[in-house]
């Protein structure tokens, strides 16, 4: 195996992983702050893809820009979904019971969104035809697909914005406080419920943006989420449950592992590499790459 080939596999994996990473940080944020496993996350990504598609076909907005344009509306959708549905099953009460109702709620939401979209928009796959989807930057012998390179850079940018928001703004700090220690945060005058709404809104907006970026090279259909939701969960657990930088790194790792697996295993086993890496991390570092070890007191 020539070095050039190896580098090509790494670069390809990294570019694919960038969008996985952006998808996953939304899920990690929601879990980190609310302790809710959102099974409908992939469906919001699918809606983001459709919205970007319609912006492109109706108004000629480039999908790379469209992916950012849809952030505010999806933030509002997230806040609304939290207020109307999730607020009823979070905060207070028997944790086991809450967990059950949350799972049923988000799974049900996922089914309704997928099938509602199938009814309204028909199952016909659609695609945004961009000139850059079939072109590549050549760096020496290595080819970097243009659409994936742009999507990767946008994913980095959006993840950077979220990181700055969480670490440099008061609101972001309040959000983290609500995540780390909801009770103490409440004593400090932080409205934990509002923070939940904020986290859900941001989480949904991020995954929708990832969907918009994905739409630059991936076809859109109502069931597209099933191809990605498992990878998102693996990325989040890999990085350490609830850790934002962890989820981002987890996404990148999945992309690279998927790509490098092909060097040693046949194509049919492409995701086997991902799950082996996943099991190894769980075995050697159960708290995940960026997770904190919890001690029972």
């Amino acid at each position: 195996m020539a070095l050039g080939d190896f580098l090509q596999y790494v670069v390809t994996g990294l570019l694919v992983g960038g969008v996985y990473a952006l998808m996953s940080i939304g899920l990690a944020l929601i879990f980190g702050v609310m302790r809710v496993v959102n099974f409908a996350q992939g469906d919001f990504m699918m809606l983001g893809m459709y919205m970007t598609y319609f912006l492109t076909t109706a108004y000629g907005i480039d999908p790379l820009l469209g992916a950012v344009v849809i952030v505010p509306p999806f933030f509002l959708v997230g806040v609304a979904v939290h207020r109307v549905l999730l607020a009823r099953v979070t905060g207070g009460g028997d944790p086991q019971r809450l967990m059950d109702t949350q799972l049923i709620l988000t799974l049900g939401l996922s089914l309704i969104i997928t099938n509602g979209t199938t009814m309204l928009l028909t199952p016909m796959p659609r695609g945004i035809k961009t000139s850059y989807a079939t072109q590549a930057f050549a760096v020496g012998p290595i080819l970097m697909n243009e659409a994936r390179s742009y999507a990767f850079l946008m994913a980095l940018f959006l993840a950077g914005v979220v990181y700055l928001f969480l670490t440099r703004t008061d609101l972001g700090k309040a959000l983290r406080a609500a995540a780390d220690e909801p009770e103490a945060a409440g004593y400090q005058g932080i409205d934990v419920r509002a923070m939940h709404g904020l986290a859900f809104g941001v989480g949904i907006a991020l995954v929708a943006a990832a969907g918009g970026l994905l739409a630059t090279y991936h076809p859109i259909e109502p069931t597209v989420a099933v191809n990605f939701i498992v990878l998102m969960f693996v990325a989040v657990v890999l990085g350490g449950l609830g850790s934002i930088p962890g989820a981002f790194a987890g996404g990148l790792v999945i992309g690279i592992v998927q790509s490098l697996t092909l060097l040693v295993l046949p194509f049919q086993l492409q995701n086997v590499g991902v799950f082996i890496a996943f099991l190894l991390v769980l075995y050697l570092r159960p708290q995940g790459l960026f997770g904190q070890r919890l001690r029972a007191v």
Binding site: T12, R126, S259, F267, Q268, Q270
Partner: protein, 408 residues
């Protein structure tokens, strides 16, 4: 308060009764003939199910407009659709429900070979004749009496299509010496590739230079297309039935400047959504082996289909279910009964050479052998030209002339 309650009750009663009062109470002249259509209407294959439904509905509308089934006093055909969903279990339980809820005279479905294998077991047990376009050989290798497979089976498709291709390539002075096999591991693709890999290509002196099979979804097509670029095959046998996978491979092929001719296996490669997703230029000259496609002389049928559905062209899926409804109609005419067993016996004896049922499928004659395979079923080679797929082989049925693409 009591008056309000009484008033409400009256209003409710009227609302409930109104539809019954408004419907004219005419007794049906003859018992309807019910056809079950069990196809995916949700999940990742829902689009194919929808296309199948369009074809069946069109045939039913035509039969009924022509006065229904004459030997049954003008009995109308009614469609009962059931969603096969996205798993074999769902398909089987949908068929079970559809066939036990009421009397069904015949069934059509379920597109994906693995679904059809399950669904036909239900139909066999309940003794309802079942028509399918699925390709897998195993569907009619189980000694079932109620399964009728109208497509040429995968292995036969591989053999006959290769024969045709080698011939066409020779005629175009582009002999095939090296082949690539790439595709997913769904049943129809597996059955098509198996004989190619094991004996057919060797017998023709063709070397397999790339052989890559994946489980959908494909994360990225770079590695596959890189191998193709490195080996420059004279033909690529292509079986990416999952739309997003296929789009990724085609985009990558363009990105890497691969010029080898692509030979798809299955009708999934000739659907209208491809034009929208990658544009007509990228598709140009890509070929696919399918079980049915509009042939020379079917222009009128295609025109009616396009007007009715708004689809840009007609493909295997609607065409096959269109033919199946007409075959069931012909069988019911001969059986003079809506009884599924009587219809099954009539289908087994059927030999039609004229009318919509016969002309819809090559070679223009409908007969089934004792295994339920359609006698004389041949694969059709279709080619994308200017954003539309046309039949290019066999020659006598072609609507366009085949364009061979330079191999290097």
């Amino acid at each position: 308060m009591k008056n309000v309650a009484v008033g409400l009750a009256v209003v409710m009663a009227v609302l409930i009764a109104a539809p019954m009062l408004l419907t004219p109470a005419t007794a049906p002249a003859a018992e309807d003939l019910k056809i079950a259509l069990v196809v995916p209407l949700s999940g990742r294959w829902a689009r194919q199910g929808q296309l199948k439904k369009m074809g069946a509905e069109m045939a039913i509308a035509e039969v009924n407009a022509q006065g229904g089934i004459k030997s049954l006093g003008g009995a109308k055909i009614v469609l009962r659709e059931a969603d096969a969903g996205d798993s074999v279990e769902k398909a089987v339980s949908a068929a079970q429900r559809a066939l036990t809820r009421e009397k069904i005279s015949a069934g059509i479905g379920s597109w994906l070979s693995s679904f059809t294998l399950g669904v036909t077991e239900v139909a066999e047990r309940l003794e309802v004749p079942w028509f399918t376009l699925s390709y897998a050989d195993s569907i009619t290798e189980r000694g079932f009496k109620y399964t009728f497979q109208s497509s040429p089976v995968s292995s036969a498709q591989a053999e006959q299509a290769l024969e045709q291709l080698v011939e066409i390539a020779k005629r175009n002075n582009q002999p095939i010496k090296k082949a690539a096999i790439i595709g997913d591991n769904t049943a129809a693709t597996v059955f098509f590739f198996k004989p190619l890999r094991e004996k057919l290509l060797k017998a023709k002196g063709i070397e397999v230079v790339v052989d890559e099979i994946w489980t959908p979804p494909l994360a990225d097509a770079t590695a596959i297309v890189q191998k193709i670029r490195a080996t420059q095959p004279d033909i690529i046998f292509y079986g990416a039935t999952n739309f997003p996978d296929s789009i990724q491979v085609l985009q990558k092929i363009k990105e890497f400047g691969v010029k080898s001719p692509i030979q798809g296996v299955g009708a999934w490669l000739v659907t209208p959504e491809y034009v929208k997703a990658v544009g007509p230029e990228l598709l140009d000259s890509i070929k696919a082996v399918v079980a049915a496609h509009p042939l020379k002389g079917q222009e009128e049928l295609v025109k009616r289909f396009k007007e009715r559905t708004g689809e840009p062209f007609m493909t295997q899926d609607p065409l096959m279910s269109y033919a199946h409804v007409w075959i069931i109609k012909e069988a019911a005419e001969r059986a003079k009964s809506t009884d599924p067993k009587a219809i099954r016996d009539a289908v087994a004896k059927l030999d039609i050479t004229s009318g919509p049922a016969a002309t819809a499928l090559a070679p223009g004659r409908i007969r089934y052998d004792e295994h339920g395979r359609r006698i004389g079923a041949i694969p059709i080679i279709v080619q994308w030209q200017g954003g539309e797929p046309f039949t290019v082989a066999p020659n006598e049925l072609a609507t366009r002339k085949l364009v061979w693409q330079a191999g290097k």
